[in-house]
Amino acid sequence: MENNSPINHWQEPQRQSPAAIFILLWSTAINLLKGLWPILAVYFFRGEKDSDSLTLLWGIAGFSFLTIGGAVIGYWFKKFHLKEDTLVIQSGWLKKKTLSIPIHSIQAVHLEQNVWQQAFGVAKVSFDSVGSDDIEAKLDALATGKAEQLRHLLMEKKATPPPDPGETEQEQKTLTYSLDFPDLLKLSLTANHLEAFFILLALLINVFDELRQILGGNDYMDTYGRDLMGQTVLFMSSLVVAVIVLSMLFSIVRTMVKYYGFQLMDADGRWIISYGLFDKTKKIVPLNKIQILSWKANWLRRKIDYWTIHVQSVGHKENKETNIRIPVVSFGKVSQLASSYQSFQGIHEEKSLRIESDYWKRSLWRSAVLITFIPLLGFSFWIGWQALILLLIYPLVVWNEYKWHQNFRWHTNDTGLQRLSGVFGRKFTLLNWKKVQQVHLHQNLYQRNRQLATVIFVTAGGKVSLPYVRLAVATALIDQVLYEVESREESWV
């Protein structure tokens, strides 16, 4: 019986269950159908099937055969075993790959069964780890008993994780921050009205399109529409003002509804954020999982002291749950919240460090070539000398780069890095050294000639970079960070 096999059995490289061949074939066939259905539909619904169509069918058959063959080969060459405290998965025929996952880094082992896996008595085994999520660490079909045994063995071997704070029922919650009605109004008035304008515009175009179809095509709308438009300039101006006012009202209401009842509570090392009038949202942010903390405000929001905190947690990606934004209506409150991650006393413009002026000087050439000269050349063939208007973009771009360089400040302390950037708006970024996973030092040709470099700190939630710093400063900083991370051995999560 497989279930009673000794532990040593796992130390020998072994294949998945033979049922994996069918599972792989099935998933490959489904993928093929998904990819080829338009071609197949055209072929089968065409009246005449001449020699061209036959060639096409042969092509599809050949492609399918190769892909299915690949799936079978994939099964044959995929083996796994446990070697001491490591799970080893070997795969590939032409490109051979051996993946080693230390068992202590495995967070969870998932067993899944679709209809076919249930029919064959097998399960798909996948492994959650704090590492990359695209490493193909999965076994498509393992006998259910064997899969259970593997899960049990891996979980047994791995160190016991600390209790999940999400599961504790009795906890101390303190209200740290909330948005009152005046705050909500402030937030709503500075919302992205342009976005609302475009949503409304799209809605209007849609309504117009439907009206056109109801009223019998283009002729009616063209005739009466032209008459109406031609009647008065006042009508057009009123329409524009109405759309702008409506857009603003729409975005104000939308923002108020979204952030209604906003509360941030501090509960045993985590933030519990809840908001929403109709769609109620509740987000939990364990503070130890925050990798980078930043907050920013555009020019207008700076004037009214309204900031948005951006929390980048483990596995941060754009538009994902881990990507959390918190609206805050005073800089003092931002500093207070940020101190949960790193002590923040503000960035002193005079005492902090700056990046080298070569940053914007280089843009003189880069912008001249990429943004001005090449588009100018292209457009001049199309619209003639009027393309010269593009030259106006050049000083704007250079000025933008210059201001960004002028406003950039950074400094380090015992715990990490603090960075300030922006042109009209401002963005503050905090990074704790213990969160750093990798450090990169980049030097392009221009930087090499001037002994400059760009330093990039990579965390599990994103990157923070320091562009155009002196090479000596960059290497000294890297040495310091490596020392901090490697000597202290602090947990990053």
Binding site: D85, T86, G92, L94, K95, K96, K97, T98, L99, S100, I101, P102, H104, S105, S129, V130, G131, S132, D133, D134, I135, A137, Q291, V314, G315, H316, K317, V436, Q437, Q438, V439, H440, L441, H442, Q443, N444, L445, R448, V458, T459, A460, G461, T475, A476, I478, D479, Q480, L482, Y483, V485, E486, E489, W492, V493
Partner: protein
């Protein structure tokens, strides 16, 4: 109250200049055969691109124009020369270094990149080799740290034996077993 001082405790001052510097690291060059593998891969890619180009010109009448063919050949030749230059310069600069606490890899030709991964941050390691690499006994080692969506640190152009040794060493050190 009497204080008991531990004789093992030390808190000596470390000046920044005493820290191990990445500037002093001597990098290990990549295998010479890797240059051959890269050049052969380029030749193979150029062959495929040429075949596609020839097929397009053969089947599409509108492309059978001396000007179009000349432009296509020039672009392909320039691409080939550009890539060959990149391979040669990059090979000279590329290298890796293993230190007690971290792993360094540098690469690039126009923009040169040095990447440093701390061993206590490594989550997985993988060793892989393509058919052409195997023909020359070469492999590459990929290191995965937390939160990345793909292997973000790959040491290429090393022998199969070195790759396995590096993998074993990383696995050992990353677990903390390497510490006394």
């Amino acid at each position: 109250m009497q204080l008991t001082l531990s004789m093992n405790f030390s808190n000596s001052l470390i000046a920044p200049e005493q820290l191990p510097s990445i500037e002093e690291v001597s990098f290990q060059s990549l295998e010479k055969d890797f240059l051959v593998v890269e050049r052969m891969s380029l030749l193979f890619s150029m062959g495929i691109l040429s075949a596609i180009g020839i097929a397009l010109i053969y089947f599409i009448d509108n492309l059978q124009n001396p000007v179009i063919i000349s432009v296509a050949v020039t672009v392909l030749a320039l691409m080939g020369i550009f890539r060959l230059l990149a391979i040669n310069i990059s090979y000279k600069y590329s290298g890796y270094a293993l230190r007690e606490k971290d792993l360094l890899f540098r690469t690039g030709w126009l923009t040169r990149k040095t990447r440093i991964v701390m061993l206590n941050r490594i989550q997985h390691v993988s060793v892989q080799s393509g058919p052409l690499e195997r023909r020359f006994g070469l492999s590459s080692v990929s290191v995965f740290t937390a939160g990345s969506s793909a292997a973000d640190f790959t040491i290429t152009g090393i022998t199969e034996d070195t790759a396995q040794k590096i993998k074993a060493w990383i696995s050992f050190e990353a677990k903390g077993d390497g510490e006394q």
